[in-house]
């Protein structure tokens, strides 16, 4: 305890407060999330920790409810199509911008990053207004277009960063040996940047699945997303079914996080 802790010879004891404060902050960050998991198995309406009686009633309520099942299906569909649309568009854009390196490319990069810079409420009401004109409100197509726009910056940034560590000369070698540009890209470059592309796809998926504000405006009725239902339900009362849904979402998040770490590790070792 009285041994030096750092280069400046401060002892562990003297900075005990630092360890306690840091531990508290970490607990503050992680505990509320994980406490939801056992609470979702409470039998009572006012969720308890630890639950006095364990039961799956809230899970049964979730899986048994047509509205929740429909909403889940809509969200998954939207996320899937978002990945399908955002990943190629973003990858190709990142590739072109990376090779270009001109000032215009820099401007285009900034333009593609605007979904990250403009407040999302403004984007949401803008889209709502636009979709009202074309009848795209409350449609899957509209939802996918909106979510793809929001996901694009993540794909572009992720694939761009992957391209930075990739030696583009390999493509030039392939082309000098006679391959067309497209063939060189598909057979030489694409396999080597695939991990960044998977990461980008992962971010696109999560962006769409977790998106709340835009969905509030443009996904209604039969095309309501799970985020919209959760938000409206939480605004009115605290439905314990949401604890079950949250547990499922937490499990999904942790899984996707581990997946991203795996992709990162394989990228570094390749």
């Amino acid at each position: 305890m009285t041994s030096p802790a750092s280069e400046t010879q401060i002892t562990h004891l003297r900075r005990l407060w630092l360890y306690l404060l840091s531990g508290s902050v970490m607990a503050f960050l992680i505990l509320p999330i994980f406490i939801v998991i056992p609470m979702s198995f409470s039998d009572t309406v006012y969720l308890e920790f630890p639950p006095r009686e364990w039961s799956l009633r809230w899970y049964r309520k979730y899986f048994g409810s047509i509205e929740w099942r429909d909403a889940t299906w809509i969200s998954l569909q939207a996320a899937f199509f978002t990945v399908l649309l955002a990943t190629p568009l973003g990858t190709v854009a990142a590739y072109g911008l990376h090779l270009s390196g001109s000032r215009v490319a820099g401007l285009i990069r900034t333009a593609l990053a605007t979904p990250l810079m403009v407040p999302v409420i403004l984007i949401a009401i803008g889209i709502f207004f636009l979709f009202a004109i074309f009848g795209l409100n409350n449609t899957m197509l509209g939802l996918v277009l909106a979510h793809t726009t929001m996901a694009l910056p993540f794909v572009v940034i992720t694939v761009s960063s992957g391209l930075q560590t990739y030696d583009i000369n390999q493509e030039k070698v392939a082309r000098s040996l006679g391959a067309t540009r497209i063939k060189a890209f598909l057979t030489v470059t694409l396999p080597q940047i695939r991990l960044s592309i998977y990461s980008g796809a992962l971010f696109a998926f999560i962006t769409s699945l977790d998106e709340v504000v835009i969905a509030l405006f443009i996904s209604g009725g039969p095309n309501a997303t799970i985020t919209r239902r959760m938000f409206i339900s939480l605004r009115d009362q605290i439905d314990p079914t949401i604890a079950a849904i949250s547990t499922i979402l937490i499990t999904l998040s942790v899984t996707l996080f581990l997946l991203s770490q795996l992709l990162g590790r394989r990228h570094r070792s390749s």
């Binding site: 750092s6 072109g96 403009v118 977790d210």
Partner: protein, 306 residues
């Protein structure tokens, strides 16, 4: 992507002349156009879905009854309810940013002093919340802070208080929830920036006789300021435009800027007013982000958190 031989010139072939110069320049131009054109799909989508609607809203904010006017903007400065909204938004943003700063700086400091491997493990405590859905985290606080929630139940049962505290559907609950969301946004860039501070500097200070506390305040802290300011600006900007958490944890009593915009559209259908509110928020946000980009490279932030 210019090879060293071109000496940074855009069209080297043109300068060197020769029979093929024109053809090569044209090929060069076509190549560049093609490469930029690859972003066409993405650019088209972003323009149609985002830029055009926001541009239209910009136009709407200057229109009252089919005439150009500053009415909507003037009303922002005159109306009492708008003033309250601005006040609430800034109060909450300042409060959340200050708390994140006090809680996040020590943790970032400690993590930056550990070995990279150890830090990576402890950072999971920061990154997993970052990856968890916003709604789930907000819900967790709703459940914990409510009258018959966990915190109140424990406090009452252990005799610390007699009556449950009103921790949610008010300012307090909103601040707690938003702090939880915003902390990773402060910790991650700050941690990354602190990691780049040379350890030898602190050793040198110790060698020269500085006490640990003095060495920290005179050497480490000033070097950590750019990363700190970047984190503060980022958190503040995110707080300004935040919608979900204040809407749920504020119980209708906390009206933030984004909520005002939403109400103006859904309850009053006053697009002009909503657009004016939105444009002011946009300008303030962009100004702060421009400041942020001076302090810290956003792309580096993104890579270090994934």
């Amino acid at each position: 992507m210019r090879s060293p031989r071109t000496n940074g010139k855009e069209y080297p072939h043109r300068d060197r002349g020769g029979v093929n110069a024109e053809v090569l320049v044209a090929a060069d131009r076509r190549e560049r156009a093609f490469l930029l054109g690859l972003s066409g799909g993405a650019l088209l989508l972003v323009t149609v879905i985002l830029v055009l609607p926001v541009g239209w809203l910009f136009y709407l904010s200057f229109v009252t009854e089919d005439q150009f006017s500053f009415d909507h903007y003037l009303r922002l400065t005159e109306s009492r309810s708008y003033f309250l909204t601005f006040q609430t938004t800034f109060e909450i943003s300042f409060a959340v940013t200050a708390i994140c700063l006090l809680l996040g700086y020590p943790l970032s400091y400690l993590l930056s002093q550990l070995s990279a491997r150890a830090a990576a493990i402890w950072l999971i405590f920061v990154i997993i919340p970052f990856w968890t859905s916003l709604l789930v985290r907000t819900y967790a606080w709703l459940v914990l802070l409510q009258r018959r929630g966990l915190i109140n139940t424990w406090l009452v049962e252990s005799g610390v208080i007699d009556e449950p505290l009103r921790l949610v559907h008010n300012f307090t609950g909103t601040v707690i929830g938003m702090t939880h969301i915003m902390l990773p946004f402060l910790i991650l860039p700050l941690y990354a920036s602190m990691r780049t501070i040379d350890r030898d500097l602190m050793r040198a200070a110790a060698n020269l006789g500085a006490s640990p506390v003095k060495a920290f305040w005179q050497v480490f802290f000033p070097l950590s300021l750019p990363g700190l300011f970047a984190g503060i600006v980022l958190v503040f900007v995110l707080c300004l435009g935040f919608y979900v958490t204040p809407a749920l944890l504020g119980g209708g009593r906390i009206i933030m800027w984004s909520m005002q915009i939403e109400r103006t559209v859904t309850l009053y259908a006053d697009w002009g007013a909503a657009s004016a509110l939105g444009m002011v928020l946009l300008v303030v946000t962009l100004a702060m982000l421009a400041l942020l980009s001076r302090l810290f490279n956003l792309e580096r932030l993104f890579r270090s958190s994934s």
